[in-house]
Amino acid sequence: QDSFAGESLIVVSWSGNHEQSFRESVVEPFNEKYGTKVETVGGWDQMIAQIKAAPADNPPFDLTIADEYTTSLGLAENVFLKTDRSGIKGFEAVSPWFDAHRGAARDYGVPFGGGSLWMVASRSSGIGAGSWKGFWDERAKGKTTMDAAAFYWDLCVPAILSDRKPGIDEVFDSPAEVEALFAELDKLQMAKWYSDGAELANILIQETAEIAMVYSADARGFMKEFGETHEIAIPAEGTASYTNWFMKVRGTRHPELSDLFLSYLLEKETQQRFLDNSTDFLSRTDLTPPAHWPDYPTTEEAIAKTFNLFSLKGWDAFGANWDALNDRMKQTIATTSRG
């Protein structure tokens, strides 16, 4: 165990609140346990670009978090290393759900957990976070907000509500069929489309919007800040989600320590600590629901029902139509924005 003492490792997690939880519940205890100098850096969608831009044998970080979009980008650019699962403990307790949608990409990295869309509704609005339909409520007109940049998540909301296909599969259709989802979004009236978490917080503080879509990476922070005035939950219809896998970056100079860290990610104590401090779901199924999330799904069935994965296959389909859909989204923003 002491062989790694003093060695350093740089791990990327999502930045902001997520990074803070990750540091407190994972990185610091790990360092304490092994005497290492693991550090965490915040990242967003520029991570693969950063790796790609850097020299192949000197990546900016050793381990990176990756959702399905990042994974497909990273695999296409060949910046990840395969993971030898035999060297990593803890897989036995991981929900098979994670591998089920993974395909060949399962050879890369370990699943730590996943994120999803949450709903925020101010208590004064009388709408509640129990159903995505709340966005289309009369009382919500001009009081809603969604993400202007990652528009594919916005499309997931009407897709969940739509019965035409299971889960969010409508999103992966041809543009002509996705049009139906845009039509639903077009009916909304946005207070403002937000472009980052800070702006979303600001919009809520200013009471510019009362109903919002929020990523689970931030939802825990929002609960702390807005818990008294707002209801923050995953609506009953379920939600769209991504999974957080941790990948070894090609060229890393600390492969063994990386493996050790990956194992640590799958330990029960690690995951429980993280769960108690976040609104992400985790890959182990043997965790206790935290106080702030009483209906945390622990069974395979509940997981599959709650979290509709924006899968790698889904990205293949969606990516082909991206530009057309992106242009179409701008129309939606133009029609639904009050500004």
Binding site: I10, W14, S15, G16, N17, H18, E19, E39, V41, G42, G43, W44, Q46, A49, Q50, K52, A53, A54, P55, A56, N58, P60, F61, D196, G197, A198, L200, A201, N202, I205, A217, D218, G221, F222, K224, E225
Partner: protein, 275 residues
């Protein structure tokens, strides 16, 4: 200064002062707000402030990540400033000595980097220099490459300011120095440098400020070890605005401001000596 009977003049003057006042408030307001907000006790930046506290300052200086980033920011900014001032001053001197020639084109060339967006420069430099090794060291991820990148913006600013300054120097004073036996280098050190000290310091300040606040280039060129404060700020902005951001902003501004004040008072003292 009495101007009785001259109503138009007084009205114009009053209108001008009004504009001056409004613009002054306009200019100072966001900066003042950031300052005030840094003392907020809440979890998220919000107005009006519900509680006052220094907790975010404690948080900022207690976080090795932020403190390291602050150190990186300062080291990089200092390096970029030295590079910018050295290169910019030298070429400004050369260009200002020439009467006509292609100096116009040269000046334009020096200015071009200012007009390339930071994202483009940052990614471009990372791709171009990712694999370059200098003296057996990887260039990528070092503070040095960020200094180089930042001096692309600092150097033109220094050049612009120094060129006008050099052109306004009294040519006869320089000739007098040559005449008394000083070579070109000695003349520059003994006569020119002391004369243009103010301009050099202010151009240094400009390039320092540019580097301290830049984050796109730094984002693509740094690793964890060299990450700068604005990069951290930008990344956490994407999640939620905690007062820690305001603290970081205030810390940066304070550093810049303190150097400015030191500079100004140093100059004033010097001027007093000269009468």
């Amino acid at each position: 200064m009495r101007r009785s009977g001259d109503i138009t003049a007084r009205l114009l003057w009053a209108a001008g002062l009004l504009v001056l006042g409004v613009v002054s408030v306009y200019v100072a307001l966001p900066v003042a707000i950031a300052f005030v907000m840094s003392f907020s006790g809440g979890q998220i930046l919000r107005f009006p402030i519900q509680s006052w506290s220094l907790r975010w300052y404690a948080d900022f200086f207690g976080s090795p990540q932020y403190v390291d980033a602050l150190v990186n920011t300062l080291v990089i900014a200092l390096g970029a400033t030295v590079l910018s001032v050295a290169a910019g001053t030298a070429s400004a001197w050369a260009i200002s000595r020439r009467k006509n020639l292609a100096t116009g084109a040269l000046t334009l060339l020096h200015m071009l980097p200012l007009f390339v967006p930071g994202v483009v420069l940052g990614l471009g430099i990372a791709i171009t220099f990712g694999n370059v090794r200098l003296f057996g060291m990887d260039l990528y991820g070092t503070r040095f490459i960020v200094m180089l990148a930042h001096s692309l913006w600092g150097m033109p600013l220094v050049m612009m300011l120094m060129e006008t300054t050099f052109r306004s120097l009294d040519r006869q004073v320089l000739e007098a120095s040559r005449d008394l036996g000083a070579g070109p280098f000695t003349t520059f050190r003994e006569i020119v440098l002391p004369e243009v000290r103010t301009a050099i310091l202010s151009s240094a300040l400009f390039s320092f400020v540019v580097s301290v606040n830049e984050f796109y280039m730094a984002l693509f060129l740094t690793t964890r070890d060299t990450q700068t404060l604005p990069v951290l700020m930008w990344l956490s902005l994407r999640s939620a605005g905690s007062p820690r951001l305001a603290v970081a902003a205030v810390v940066l501004m304070t550093i810049v401001l303190v150097s400015l004040v030191l500079l100004a008072s140093g100059l004033r003292r010097k001027e007093r000596v000269r009468g």
